[in-house]
């Protein structure tokens, strides 16, 4: 039996989570979560942590537009995802919601435009 203390990152409340893990490192119980999402977060965080990536993409005219992965990707891929993002050159006419890369790095996530060119 091992214990891990986490801070939930799902919402601004930031619950302190107490996770009990068995010998194999599999979570067996979660305490301190104010909602069910906290339990899911704790279980994922202890087995395969995930993060949403937000960044900017360079446009062909030199400006930048904001983008995000439309769902969380494995945390270990975050810097690889940044490399992909920084290789892109897109049209400054991109609209909010446009998909720039589908299945980025083989994940379920797409890279989507979140705002207009400033």
């Amino acid at each position: 039996m091992k214990e891990r203390i986490l801070t939930c990152i799902i919402c601004p409340r930031g619950c302190t989570l107490r996770v009990t893990l068995d010998e194999a490192g599999v979570p067996t119980s979660v305490e301190g979560n104010a909602c069910p999402r906290g339990k899911t977060y704790a279980e994922t965080e202890c087995t395969a942590p995930m993060r949403t990536v937000t960044s900017t993409v360079r446009c062909t005219d030199g400006s930048v537009i904001p983008v995000k992965t439309d769902r969380a990707i494995p945390k270990r891929l975050v810097f690889d995802c940044m490399k992909e993002i920084n290789l892109l050159r897109v049209s400054p006419e991109c609209a909010v919601g446009d998909i720039l890369i589908e299945h980025i790095l083989g994940t379920d996530a797409s890279l989507v435009v979140t705002g207009k060119k400033p």
């Binding site: 937000t54 930048v64 975050v78 909010v96 979140t114 705002g115 207009k116």
Partner: protein
Amino acid sequence: MAYLSDEKISFGIVIVGGGPAGMAAAVAAYDAGERDILILERDNALGGILRQCIHNGFGLHRFGEELTGPEYAYKYERMVEERGIAYMLDTMVIGIDKERNLTAVNRDRGIFTIKCGAIILAMGCRERPRGALNIAGTRPAGIYTAGTAQKYVNMKGYMPGREVVILGSGDIGLIMARRMTLEGASVKAVCELMPYSGGLARNIEQCLNDFDIPLYLSTTVVEIHGKERVEAVTVAEVDERRRPKLETARTIPCDTLLLSCGLIPENELTKDAGIPLDAITNGAVVNGDRETDVEGIFACGNVLHVHDLVDYVSEEAVIAGTSAVRYIRGESGRDADIALKTDGRVRYTVPQRITSLKDTVVYFRVADVYKDAYLVVKRGEEVLYKRKKQKLAPGEMETVKLTEEMLKGDGGELRLSIEMA
């Protein structure tokens, strides 16, 4: 944007600022039945500071989904457009008076004056700069407020530096620690003068811990080194009275210092109009309608008090927007005058006064970290409300709902306090 004739010099409701507060106030006023609304925005687009906050975490309360800043702003921009609410961009308001005459300037019209039925102040806030912090040392390039760096990286596509120290652990500083790291910079340290962080716990976790960036509490920057460009900063721990312990001083080489040392509501217009401000919030004193001490002038969002979450800004803007509509229709209806007082542990409340007997949500912040403490609302010695709070921290805005039942009764004063278990 609706067409505005040059001859139109009066509006029902004029909103100063087209950020999240201004847009939400405008939409709420429209939805309450008012059509003669104008938003004045000094930047070249609506959206305010959200445009540069490209990270996610916005909108969970308001929209039930996790949005980035630009997406949250875009939703409100669409609501403004769909309703055909008029707005002027690149337009700077330079003065308002107590009779609600507003003077603004832009390239098309030059200086012009508008007669307003009601005014909603929604100018937001700005960051405390180096000059306000009294940091010793040279004055080289490479010192930015965190928000300025955020604008460079997220809107202009420039990296302000490669080796970064951040002073202050407010949320923007934490967010920028992650952002600079993702873009290839090395963030050496985040130093916080206070013994606790000013940012949300989730941001400590996902912006610092995820990238092994150290957070040094009770630590500050005592000297900046470098002639043309920042070359290093000297940091030192501070004692309980926040004086640096120089024997703990050490120098961290870096080329950039980011400052995330607090936000100040931008109230020059408010002050010039003679509207009384609260010395703690640095925003106007308001009643439950978010009306200032000057009739017909309302305030909401970060110009009133600094919020943690844009969702709360929108919520407050709805109050201001709908109250402004009631005001111009002569339906404000004041049937009480209750001052909300605090005990020092509660630093401030917004509103500071309640002038109508109806359920009122009061926002407040505490002065220090309190664990297992009680939030108590009293009239004189009579306890009207008592609720245990596991943890209260200055970085997290709290709310308490004062019911009509609690507001009724003798005495023009209620006191919010924190009592230890």
